[in-house]
Structures are given as C-alpha cells and as structure tokens.
Symmetry: C2
Subunit: 198 residues, 2 copies
Amino acid sequence: MNTRAPQQRRLKTRAKLIEVAQEIVAVQGYSGLRVEDVVDQAGVAKGTLFSHFKDKDGLLAVLIGAEVMTQLDQMEAQGQPNNINEVIDRLSPLLSFIATDRVIFELLLRYSGSTGAEIDEVVTAGLVRQVTLFAGWLAQLQHTGEVRNDSPAELLSEGIQAFLYHVLALWFCIEHTNDDSPATSLQPFLHSWLAPKT
Amino acid sequence: MNTRAPQQRRLKTRAKLIEVAQEIVAVQGYSGLRVEDVVDQAGVAKGTLFSHFKDKDGLLAVLIGAEVMTQLDQMEAQGQPNNINEVIDRLSPLLSFIATDRVIFELLLRYSGSTGAEIDEVVTAGLVRQVTLFAGWLAQLQHTGEVRNDSPAELLSEGIQAFLYHVLALWFCIEHTNDDSPATSLQPFLHSWLAPKT
DNA sequence: GAGATAAATTGACCGCGGTCAATTTTAAAA
DNA sequence: TTTTAAAATTGACCGCGGTCAATTTATCTC
C-alpha cells in the first residue's frame, strides 16, 4: 500500500523524451513537434509520454520553460536598466523568441496566470521570476524618477506583461517585413504606461 | 471560365449550418460544439461545412462575432460614460461574456489583430468597431479632463484591449468563487492607465 | 529464492478536425 | 431541348493528440 520512490528507469526515460524533443524542435521548430515522432525516436510507447507529462503542453512547458529561464539569465546578466528604453532593450530578445512561433505564445499565455501554485512546472517558475525581476527594475527606476511613483511596481510589472502579450498577439496576425521587431511596437505603450507626461 | 453568383441553395445551407450551430452552442456551450454534430443535425456532409467556412474557427467567428456585435449595441445604447468607472461598467458585460468560455477568448485573441483587412469576417468588424468606440469615449473624457491628454485616444483604447485580455488570461488560470468578476481585476489597471496621478 | 505488490511501460483504440477526388446539381449557352 | 461548365455537395480517408486495460519490470518481505 506504500508509495515508492521513482526508479532510475523512469528518470532516464523522462530525460530521453526531453532530449529527443529538443532535438526535433531544433530542426522542425515548436510547431513541428509531433508526439509520435518523439516516442518513436525515444524508443518508447505513446502512453509512456503521457505518463510522464499531462499532455503535449506539459512537455512543451518544460522545453519552453528552460528557454525562458536562459533568456532571464541573460536579462539579469545585463544588470539594472537606467531608463525605459533600456528596459525595452532587455525585453527585446525574449520578445523575439516568443515571436518565433505561435505555439510558444499560446503556451506562455496559458500558463501566465499560474501564480505561485504548482511551481513544479519550470515555465511557471519562469513567469513568476520574470514578473519579480521586472518589478525590481521598476522599483529602482521609481527611485531615480525615471518611472512614475503613483502605482506600485508590481502593478506596473504586470502591466508590462499585458502590453507584451498584446503586441505579440498583433504580431501573429500580420505579415512581417524582416526589418521590424515586436519590441518596436511595444515602445509607445511602455512609455505611456511607465512615464506618463501629465 | 466565368465565375457565377452563389446560388440560393448555398445560402440556405450556410444559414442552416449557422442556425444549427447556434442551437448546439445554446445547449452545450462553445466548448461543446462538434463539427460532426453540426453537419449531422444540418443534414449535410462534413466537407460541406468546410466549403462554407475555412475551418471550425471560421464558423465560431461568425457566431461569436454576432454576439460581440450585440454586446456593442448595448454598450453604445448606454451612451457616453462620464468617468473611468463608468467605462468599466460599460465593459463589464462583454468581459463576462468572454469569461464564459476559453474558446471565445482564444478566438477573439486570434482575430484581435486583423486590422481593417478582410472585414468580411463579422468578428473582425466587431473588434475594429470596439476599438473605435472606446477611442471615441476616451477622446470625450480627455476633453472633460477625466482621462490623461498626453497620449492619443487610439493608443489608450488599444491599451484597454491589452489589459482586458490580460485580465481574462489570468481569469482562466484560476478557480473562481461565483461572486467575483473579471471586471474587478481590470479596475486598478485602467485607473493607472487612463488617469495617472503624477 | 519465491511470492507479493507497486511502478513503469505498452499499444490498440478513440475522438475530432480537416482534406480532396469523385459525384450530383444548377443554370447559362447553343 | 440538349450541351456544357461551373457550383455545390459528398463521404471515405488522414493526421494527430490522448486514453486505459493489460502486461512487463523492479523492489520489498518472508
């Protein structure tokens, strides 16, 4: 009747599934990922994948969560931004990554409200970390007067998220010339949001 | 080699499909809509549906578009709001409608960036109308000083959309007690966005 | 080592959206 | 009326995500 610890076999299988999935994504992109391909190349049955991950999104969440974490590392490495334009600069790579593939966007959107609970999901932890990081930046910029003081940094940070997803949603609706980036469209919103001129 | 006008037969079929779909939605909700059920009850083959609508979303867009239009009618009927809280009041029913079903949210999000082009889609027209309506309200409120003047009404209107979808995205991630509404969470964002106290 | 029991894996099967070559229906042209 | 070509419809078929009863494998107990 007792529950036992997971066996090494299970851990290996999980690792293999993720590894194979990453290889496929590297070639086909996230939209090109097929569950059947993953299990075939991993040498396991379909059911196995779904015993390791709730659904296909569960697997994707691991892959994308890892990528988001990397992006956040690079963001943090750049240090505290000194003004709003530098905030946008920090954001830009993450935006471009998400803009790569609608699948990423939809997954992040689905997980975007998982506040705190079930942080076992990497992607959730990533999103929480992101909001916290932004809030820290903003609090600092509030002190230097670059950012408005009348609203708490947490609210402003959440607002950035809102604009971020808004811009991305538009991004996926239109055709793109290669020389424009989603970060550009973000600019007017963030300036108005963080530094109103009233 | 000529192209001919559509026949009455086609119009009837299309109408029947929409009618049946609406009946099913009334009972099962949007998430409960199955293409197979629609074609069965409409007495046509599956392929027929896809010759009338690009995909299932195409059909949904018609149904949801119609509903959005109704909501906008009621919004307009209430007349110009006098302050931000009244703006939120006007928004509230639409929010609640979208909050009803994730399918609605995702569809509107997908079409949210269809600016102008292909207005043949009802839902696109609805979304354009919405932004225009908001912009009109805001321009008026800018004159009375209820809303900030440093940003164009169009930008502010788009920003409302962003917050609206943000709040809804969070809404679908958490459990709800029946006594809270998505409009409540919208409040702090809209006040900060439209009337900064700096 | 021989059961006993939980963990891990399997793969046939299902639901559902979407496709397309073939067929039927309509209406304009001869 | 017959011919002809476009319009409309058909339904067998496919792709792909997800399920679950059955089977195999590992680990614990005596």
